[in-house]
C-alpha cells in the first residue's frame, strides 16, 4: 500500500483575494491580488517557483482555455504550468498537482492558483452552459440548486422527515455561516441573517430558497508549497503540512444503479475515509477540529456532516440545531463563512478552504480565530449529487 502524502509537503505561503462581485477586476487582477499576498507570505522570489498548477472551472465565462492565462497574468518565467479543471473541485485539484509535484521530488517549490470570474454573465446564479453534446440531448436542463434540491428530497424521504424540520436545520446552517462571514473582511457576504429570513425566502428550487444558496462570486486563491526541509532552510516556523489529499470520482453508479438512494454523497464517504486512513485519523469527530465543507447549498452541508462521520446517519439535523457546527460548537464548520458567505468562485474555492486552515493554524484568523485548532478537513465537491467529484484535504501543524 502506498505511503500517502502525510507530512511530505508543507505550505510555504498562501494568498486569497477579496471575494465578491468584483465588477472592476479582471481575472488577471484577481490572480495578481491573491498571488502578491501569497508570495510575500512565502518570502521567496517568483523565479524560485519551479512549476505551477492553474485551476479555472468554466472556460467560456472566465479566462479561456489552457494554462497561459496564469503564466501571462503573473509573468512567470516560462516554467511548466498545467491547467486543471474538475468542476467545483478544481481548486483542490490544482493544489493536488502542486503538492504531488513537490512530494515526487520533481519540484522544490510549486504554485497552485485558482481563479473564477463568474460575474460577467449578465444574470444571477452560475453560468448556463453545455454539459456535452450527448448529455444535452437528454439531461434535464438542471440548475445547480435544482440538482442539489434532489439531495433534500432524497434525505427527507429516507428519514421520513417533516419538510419544515429539514428546512429549519437548513436555515440554521445558513444563519451560522452568515454569522461567521460577518467576521471575515474578505467574505462576499458579511451580513448576519435570522432563521426566519432563511425559512421565508422565496424558493429557487424547492426546498432550496435564496438563503440556502452560496454566493456566486469572483475571486482567486493560491498556495506555494515545498518540502519541510526547504521550508526550514528558508527560516519558516509553525509549519503547516498536508496530512491527506484524496479524490473520489463517480463512475455512474449513483446515477444509474439502484444501490444509491439519493440521500447522501457516495464520493464524500469514500474520499473522506481514504483521507482519514492517510492522515491516521481514527475518530473524526474527536480529531478533526475544523471543517471547511462544500456548502454550495445548505442541504449539501447538512448531508456532508454525516458523510464525514461528524454526525451519525440521520443525526445531522439535531447536531446542527444543537450548535455542534457553530463557531463555538465542538466541531466548527465554515468558520470563514464557507461558500455560503466567503463566496464561491469555482476554481478558487478549494484553495480558499485550505487558506482558512492555514491562517487558523498560524493563529492569523483575526476575529474568527479558533482557540486551539488541531486538524482541519476541507471538502470540495464538483458536479451534482448523482454524479460528482469529491476532493478531501486534511491540513494541520507539521509533525
Amino acid at each position: 500500500m502506498a505511503e500517502g502524502i502525510k507530512d511530505k509537503v508543507v505550505i510555504l505561503g498562501m494568498g486569497c483575494s477579496k471575494f465578491g462581485e468584483r465588477w472592476e477586476s479582471s481575472p488577471s487582477d484577481l490572480m495578481v491580488e491573491a498571488f502578491e499576498e501569497c508570495i510575500a507570505d512565502a518570502g521567496i522570489e517568483k523565479d524560485q517557483i519551479d512549476a505551477a498548477w492553474f485551476g479555472a472551472g468554466i472556460d467560456s465565462f472566465n479566462v479561456g482555455a489552457s494554462a497561459m492565462p496564469l503564466s501571462i497574468a503573473l509573468r512567470l518565467n516560462y516554467i511548466p504550468v498545467t491547467k486543471v479543471e474538475n468542476m467545483c473541485a478544481t481548486g483542490t485539484e490544482a493544489f493536488r498537482g502542486a503538492v504531488y509535484a513537490v512530494a515526487s521530488g520533481a519540484c522544490d517549490i510549486a504554485l497552485a492558483l485558482g481563479v473564477e470570474k463568474l460575474k460577467d454573465t449578465g444574470y444571477g446564479g452560475l453560468p448556463q452552459r453545455s454539459r456535452g453534446v450527448e448529455n444535452d440531448m437528454y439531461w434535464p436542463n438542471l440548475s445547480a440548486p435544482g440538482a442539489f434540491a434532489q439531495l433534500a428530497a432524497g434525505y427527507q424521504a429516507k428519514h421520513k422527515l417533516n419538510k419544515q424540520d429539514l428546512k429549519r436545520a437548513m436555515a440554521h446552517v445558513s444563519v451560522k455561516s452568515h454569522a461567521n462571514g460577518a467576521k471575515n473582511p474578505k467574505a462576499h457576504l458579511q451580513r448576519e441573517i435570522t432563521e426566519e429570513q432563511a425559512m421565508n425566502a422565496p424558493f429557487i428550487a424547492e426546498p432550496i430558497g435564496l438563503f440556502d444558496c452560496c454566493g456566486v462570486s469572483d475571486g482567486s486563491a493560491c498556495a506555494i508549497v515545498t518540502t519541510p526541509e526547504i521550508a526550514k532552510r528558508l527560516g519558516k516556523e509553525n509549519l503547516v503540512s498536508v496530512k491527506a489529499l484524496q479524490l473520489a470520482v463517480s463512475n455512474g453508479t449513483e446515477a444509474s444503479h439502484k444501490s444509491w438512494d439519493g440521500s447522501y454523497l457516495k464520493t464524500t464517504r469514500i474520499a473522506s475515509q481514504r483521507a482519514y486512513n492517510e492522515a491516521g485519523v481514527k475518530n473524526p469527530k474527536q480529531e478533526i477540529t475544523m471543517t471547511e465543507v462544500h456548502d454550495c447549498f445548505s442541504i449539501t452541508e447538512l448531508v456532508t456532516m454525516e458523510d464525514l462521520q461528524l454526525s451519525k446517519e440521520g443525526g445531522a439535523i439535531k447536531d446542527i440545531l444543537d450548535g455542534t457546527f457553530d463557531a463555538d460548537g465542538s466541531n466548527p464548520c465554515q468558520i470563514d463563512g464557507g461558500l455560503k458567505c466567503f463566496g464561491h468562485p469555482i476554481g478558487a474555492s478549494g484553495l480558499r478552504m485550505i487558506y482558512e486552515n492555514y491562517l487558523q493554524f498560524q493563529g492569523r484568523a483575526g476575529a474568527r480565530q479558533l482557540p486551539d485548532p488541531k486538524l482541519g478537513l476541507n471538502h470540495n465537491l464538483g458536479g451534482f449529487p448523482h454524479q460528482n467529484i469529491c476532493s478531501i484535504s486534511i491540513i494541520g501543524p507539521y509533525g
Binding site: S143, F203, E206, H257
Partner: protein, 478 residues
C-alpha cells in the same frame, strides 16, 4: 374481411376556457362572446403533431401487442418538419421495425379519410397503422381559436379481429377553396361560413354519400353513426336531414368541449363512434376538404369486447382546465416573451451525436446485462452494476412502456423552462434502472418522492435559430 382492428385517441390535457379567450378578445370582436362557453383542448408547450400522434398510436397498439405492421401513415396539415419524414420519427419512437412502410400524408382536412381508404383498399397481408394528428396555429381572437382544438387518433386496418368491417368508399375531388394555408403562412385564411355551408357541405357531401349508400345498397335511415367533421354547429344536422340519416346518429364534433382537431377529427370521431357502436351497426365516416371522402363500415361482434387503455372517452375526460389565456398564447408561440438570458443559450443539436444515441433519444432503449441481469439506461459499454462491469454485455431493453417511481425531485425556478418551474428528478423504474429526467405537466403540490410515473415522448428543446426541435421521453405523474 378487412376493416378497423384497433383504435386509439389522444387529446392534450390542457383545456383552455373559452371564457378566457372571450375575456381577452371580445373588446375587439364582441361576436366571440357567442362562443364563450366550454373549453378547447390545447397542446402543452412540449407537445406537437408528432408527440400527440405517438400517444394515440400507443393507445391504439396497446391492444395489438405483438402485431407486425405493414405500414405507418401519418396524416396531418401541421407537420413539424417539411423535409424530414415525420412518420419515420414516429415509427422509431414506437420501436417499429425499419421495414415498415412509412409515409406522411398532408395538405387537406380529408387527409385522414383518404389515407384510410388507401389502407382499406390496399389488401396488405399485415395490419397497417394510420395516425392522424393536428396542432393548428390560430390567430388571437379568431373564430378558429374558439372552435378548434388539438388532438390525434390512430386506427389499424387488417383482417384479424376486425371491429368494423369495410363495406365500401366513395370520393369526390373538388377544388372548393373554403380555406387555405399557403407555404409562407402559419395561419389559415377562410371564406364566409354560410357560403361554405351552402355551396360546400350541402352541395358536395350529399352526392358522395348518396352514391356510396347506393353502391352498398344501404338506406340512409339505417346509419347508426354519422361522422361529419366540421366546426359549423348546424351543418351536420342539415346534412343528416337532407340525406335522411337520423339526427341522433351524428357523432358530436365536441366544438364546445374539445374543439375540432382538423385533419385528426375524422379519426377522433370514428374512435368515438367505435367506442359506442353495437355489433351490426353501420358507421358512415366522411372527410371534407377539396371534395369529400365517405367510408361505410359495419361494427362486428368484436367491437363490444374491445377496450383500449384509454379510448376516446378516456382521452376526452383526461383534462386540466386552463384559464390563463396568456399561457395558451405563449405555448403556441403567438406572443414574443422575454424568456430571460438563460433561455438564450444555444440549443444546437449536433446531428452526428444525435444519430449515435438515437436508440436512447427516440426509442428510449436501454440495456439489460446478459451476465448479471441488471437493467440500465443509458446503456454504456460497461455494465453499471458495481459487482459486474461486464463489457459489451447488454441487450436492447425498451423503456417506453415501463412504470416508475419518483425517487427525488425539485421545482427549479432558476433554470430556463417554457413553463416554469422546471420539474425534474431521479426516477426509479420498476425494472431496477434509474434515470435523472424531466417531468412534464406537473401540478403544484402534485409530486413527491414515491409518486408513480409513466413515460411520454415530448419536445425537449426548440432550436429557434435553426428551426429544429429535439425530443426525448419525460415522466408524467400517473
Amino acid at each position: 374481411m378487412i376493416g378497423i382492428t384497433a383504435y386509439g385517441a389522444y387529446y392534450p390535457r390542457g383545456r383552455l376556457s373559452k371564457k378566457a379567450i372571450a375575456d381577452a378578445n371580445a373588446w375587439f370582436d364582441a361576436g366571440l362572446n357567442a362562443h364563450a362557453k366550454g373549453e378547447r383542448a390545447f397542446c402543452n408547450w412540449d407537445e406537437d403533431t408528432i408527440t400527440m400522434g405517438i400517444e394515440a398510436a400507443q393507445n391504439c397498439l396497446s391492444s395489438l401487442p405483438n402485431s407486425e405492421l405493414s405500414t405507418l401513415y401519418l396524416a396531418s396539415t401541421t407537420f413539424p418538419f417539411l423535409d424530414r419524414q415525420n412518420s419515420v420519427l414516429v415509427s422509431e419512437a414506437l420501436n417499429l421495425d425499419s421495414g415498415v412502410r412509412t409515409m406522411d400524408i398532408a395538405a387537406s382536412q380529408r387527409v385522414a379519410t383518404s389515407a384510410l381508404i388507401a389502407l382499406l383498399e390496399a389488401g396488405h397481408s399485415k395490419p397497417g397503422l394510420l395516425i392522424a394528428s393536428e396542432h393548428r396555429k390560430t390567430k388571437a381572437g379568431s373564430r378558429s381559436e374558439m372552435l378548434w382544438g388539438d388532438g390525434a387518433a390512430a386506427v389499424t386496418v387488417g383482417s384479424d379481429g376486425v371491429l368494423a368491417e369495410f363495406i365500401c368508399a366513395e370520393t369526390a375531388a373538388v377544388d372548393f377553396v373554403d380555406h387555405y394555408r399557403g407555404e409562407d403562412s402559419s395561419f389559415d385564411y377562410d371564406w364566409e361560413e354560410r357560403w361554405i355551408r351552402d355551396e360546400g357541405f350541402m352541395k358536395i357531401v350529399p352526392s358522395v354519400i348518396e352514391s356510396l349508400l347506393s353502391k352498398a345498397s344501404v338506406k340512409a335511415c339505417d346509419i347508426a353513426h354519422f361522422v361529419i367533421p366540421t366546426d359549423q354547429a348546424r351543418t351536420p344536422a342539415a346534412l343528416a336531414k337532407k340525406l335522411g340519416i337520423p339526427v341522433e346518429a351524428i357523432v358530436d364534433n365536441g366544438v364546445s368541449t374539445l374543439g375540432v382537431a382538423g385533419a385528426a377529427q375524422p379519426l377522433l370521431l370514428l374512435a368515438n363512434a367505435l367506442e359506442k357502436a353495437c355489433p351490426g351497426e353501420l358507421i358512415l365516416v366522411t372527410g371534407f376538404g377539396q371534395g369529400c371522402d365517405a367510408i361505410l363500415l359495419r361494427a362486428t361482434q368484436e367491437v363490444s369486447n374491445y377496450r383500449p387503455i384509454r379510448g376516446f372517452s378516456g382521452a376526452a375526460g383526461h383534462r386540466r382546465e386552463e384559464t390563463n389565456y396568456n399561457k395558451f398564447m405563449s405555448f403556441n408561440n403567438l406572443v414574443e416573451r422575454d424568456i430571460g438570458k438563460r433561455g438564450e443559450a444555444d440549443k444546437q443539436t449536433y446531428l452526428s451525436g444525435y444519430n449515435r444515441r438515437k436508440d436512447l433519444l427516440t426509442g428510449f432503449i436501454g440495456g439489460k446485462c446478459t451476465k448479471c441481469g441488471t437493467v440500465q439506461i443509458p446503456r454504456e459499454k460497461y455494465c453499471v452494476n458495481p459487482d459486474c462491469h461486464a463489457l459489451d454485455s447488454q441487450d436492447d431493453y425498451p423503456f417506453s412502456a415501463q412504470k416508475g417511481t419518483v425517487k427525488t425531485w425539485t421545482a427549479d425556478r432558476l433554470t430556463f423552462d417554457w413553463n416554469p418551474p422546471a420539474y425534474f428528478g431521479m426516477v426509479q423504474f420498476d425494472n431496477g434502472a434509474k434515470l435523472m429526467m424531466d417531468f412534464t405537466e406537473v401540478e403544484e403540490g402534485g409530486i413527491d418522492s414515491g409518486s408513480k410515473v409513466s413515460f411520454h415522448f415530448r419536445i425537449k428543446q426548440f432550436d429557434t435559430q435553426r428551426g429544429f426541435r429535439k425530443y426525448f421521453w419525460k415522466a408524467v405523474i400517473s
